[in-house]
Symmetry: C2
Subunit: 105 residues, 2 copies
């Protein structure tokens, strides 16, 4: 996403920009797949779906640094929530945000 710094039009709202950031997070097939993987991963009763970088690298055929970079974009958009425990970083989906985006459509 490469954007003119001084967007002057009054007709581009803050929400437009916010939606664009989230859409941009989904604007790459790998990132869509990461979200989907996380959303379908069954972690049992009441346990929110969780994964870690290592899992993702194993699952998808990209370098670890590349996966990490894509995850970063998902984190920055708010779609991924991270939590450190032991030596792992766990990712969960921000389902509330997904709902919000759904409402936008």
């Amino acid at each position: 996403m490469r954007i003119r710094t001084e967007i002057s039009s009054d007709y581009i709202s803050e929400e437009d920009k916010r939606i664009a950031v989230i859409a941009n997070a989904l604007a790459h097939p790998l990132r869509v797949a990461l979200v989907r993987y996380l959303s379908t991963k069954n972690c049992g009763e009441g346990v929110d779906n969780v994964t870690c970088n290592k899992d993702l690298v194993k699952m998808f055929d990209y370098a670890q640094s590349t996966v990490s970079q894509h995850v970063k974009i998902l984190k920055e958009s708010g779609l991924f929530i991270t939590e450190n425990k032991d030596k792992f970083t766990f990712y969960t989906l921000n389902r509330a945000l997904l709902e919000e985006v759904k409402d936008y459509f």
Copy 2:
């Protein structure tokens, strides 16, 4: 959207790629605003919301060529449908596709 040509992972589906293309179309504030503008434009009874390039250039503070370029991306994603009449090109929203994306979430 810059993507490795030979995506080998079996875990990235065709639908993931399709969603990514549509998300990418919404991955810029101007394009989000264009979609929103079109979706809210009241054109009266039974008339699907419609606009033309000239309208958009007047509304949004970008060069005509820039607007045209962004519209092209929306067209290619399928979100905008174009129709030529007289000397105008009319744009309408592909509401069916929007619904489909909504279902994805």
